[in-house]
Symmetry: C2
């Protein structure tokens, strides 16, 4: 009997590749017109990873917390299929803490307190088990830390998505520009896209940003939806009109998590599939804002998600047959 060698390309199908999510795991204290919270669990990677876990199960977290961080949340990560081998727990140190207060319009907020704590000397560790990373979500973090993660992966992932914020444009321009040139998908909000390019028109801003390196750009417009650009196409997804936006914290990270979760689940990085990812991300974000923190996001059912996606379909679909 002749034993046939399986070609490498076929073997790959049987390898479960992973989604690595890098970013903050934190405590937040939030005040909105609807109320305020004590310290609750937050952080960009928490939101992104949790949202992604509804789509794919092989998620690997890179972050840092202090030993004040609750074990039950780490247990919850495991239950959600999120490995925490790359989550450093620093003895005798405190978890990153952010506190903010939203204005009536929910689009603007004041930061009341930021205690970097363990983030101050965070040096991301990539465990060997993470080297199968196929999809990489670099949530908002110091650009030099995002860079270290990319450098410490032996093989460049199939798709690298990076989020960032205005603060790094003001303090770490050069490293940020280098990172932007290295990623596949950049996500920024509308004011950040304008700040990055000195263009008011988002179309012009997108053209400039795509020249900086990324093949895809997502501009998040909060309650006004999100735009996906590449050099030839543009796609728009609205935010779901909601009776109340209770707490916008983490909505952008949840959006990114739903997006990359869908991409990792389908392993399809075409523009058409990214459009679906944008819709799934928008659906997840619409849940996120309905309650404080992660409250609404941690106990969703597939039926609820499908129903929400159907609402997006109903919201935008129309039937015009051009001759």
């Amino acid at each position: 009997m002749i034993v046939q060698k399986v070609p490498i390309s076929s073997q790959k199908i049987f390898t479960v590749m992973s989604l690595v999510v890098v970013g903050t795991v934190a405590f937040d204290a939030i005040e909105t017109p609807f109320g305020k919270t004590d310290k609750i669990i937050g952080g960009a990677a928490t939101y992104s990873g949790t949202a992604a876990s509804y789509f794919t199960k092989n998620i690997k977290l890179v972050s840092v917390v202090g030993d004040d961080f609750p074990g039950e949340t780490i247990h919850q990560f495991h239950k959600n299929g999120i490995s925490t081998e790359g989550l450093q727990v620093k003895k005798g140190q405190k978890t990153f803490f952010w506190s903010g207060k939203y204005h009536t319009d929910m689009n603007t907020r004041d930061t009341l307190d930021t205690q970097l704590n363990v983030l101050l000397d965070f040096d991301p560790v990539i465990p060997d088990s993470y080297q199968d990373c196929e999809f990489l979500m670099l949530s908002n973090l110091m650009p030099q830390l995002q860079k270290k993660v990319l450098e410490r992966l032996n093989k460049r992932p199939k798709l690298v998505v990076m989020d960032t914020m205005n603060f790094w444009m003001e303090t770490q321009w050069d490293t940020l520009m280098e990172m932007i040139s290295l990623v596949d998908v950049l996500t920024v909000n509308d004011s950040e896209a304008r700040q990055l390019t000195n263009e008011y028109s988002l179309v012009k801003a997108a053209q400039k940003i795509l020249k900086m390196g990324p093949r895809y750009l997502i501009i998040k417009k909060g309650e006004h939806g999100a735009l996906l650009f590449n050099n030839e196409q543009v796609f728009f997804a609205p935010a779901l009109p909601l009776e109340d936006v209770f707490d916008p914290t983490g909505a952008g990270d949840t959006f990114a998590g739903g997006f990359i979760g869908h991409i990792a689940q389908t392993r399809d990085i075409s523009f058409e599939n990214m459009k679906r990812g944008i819709i799934y991300g928008s659906a997840m974000a619409s849940f996120c804002v309905e309650k404080f923190g992660l409250e609404r996001l941690i106990n969703l059912t597939q039926e609820e998600i499908d129903e929400r996606v159907q609402q997006f379909i109903d919201l935008v679909q129309f039937d015009i047959a051009l001759v």
Copy 2:
């Protein structure tokens, strides 16, 4: 040979019913970050009627101008299939004049000058030939004048669409409320919807406004698109992302004109068809803002409109098959 009487219901098919457009015909002087104009032709009814004329030809204008108004524009109305029998030309008087300056974001503007002139004692005349009115577009105007038009039509039109503005909420609340209770479709912008209801959430505002009388509500959000509500459904159309918004003047009226023009063309007032109307209105508005005043709007081809509508289809369509 027996001559059969044609039943009245069948006769109606052969009657060409009309779209009556009521509102201002004006001079504007506009300043934007891209430049400024001398006195150019403007006015809500001018924009609405011109936009509608790409969809239906039996349009009838109710308005007033002074004898300083150019005959060539009136000739242009006729060429566009817009009857001006209800356009009063006041000897020795001046046309309504508005002047405004837009800020960089193009979403806010300062009114530099308003000269009501002929509008001061405008008493709308409905010629007999207008009594076949099937669709009525009441563009933004003093509510008591909108009311007079409705009273002077012998038969209530099949669909009455009304636009209004914050100023009438502050000065003519009671008459405005009465008018809102009488129309089928109300169009307002997002801040007006909030002012009308004291609700920040547009979903809650829409629920309240629909209780005031109209069966349909359109909330215009400028560069952020438009929402269509009835008591059961909601539809959203984005604005087309443009490289430059050159001059937003008249965009809302152009949107309304494209909407009612499509409805009048198809004579179908279902929610599904109103969705198409919103897309056609959005397409027409996207042309309007590309140049000053009516410049871009007066010489469009059917191909250009179809191409623009296709851009809207491409912008929002995605393919998710839920099991």
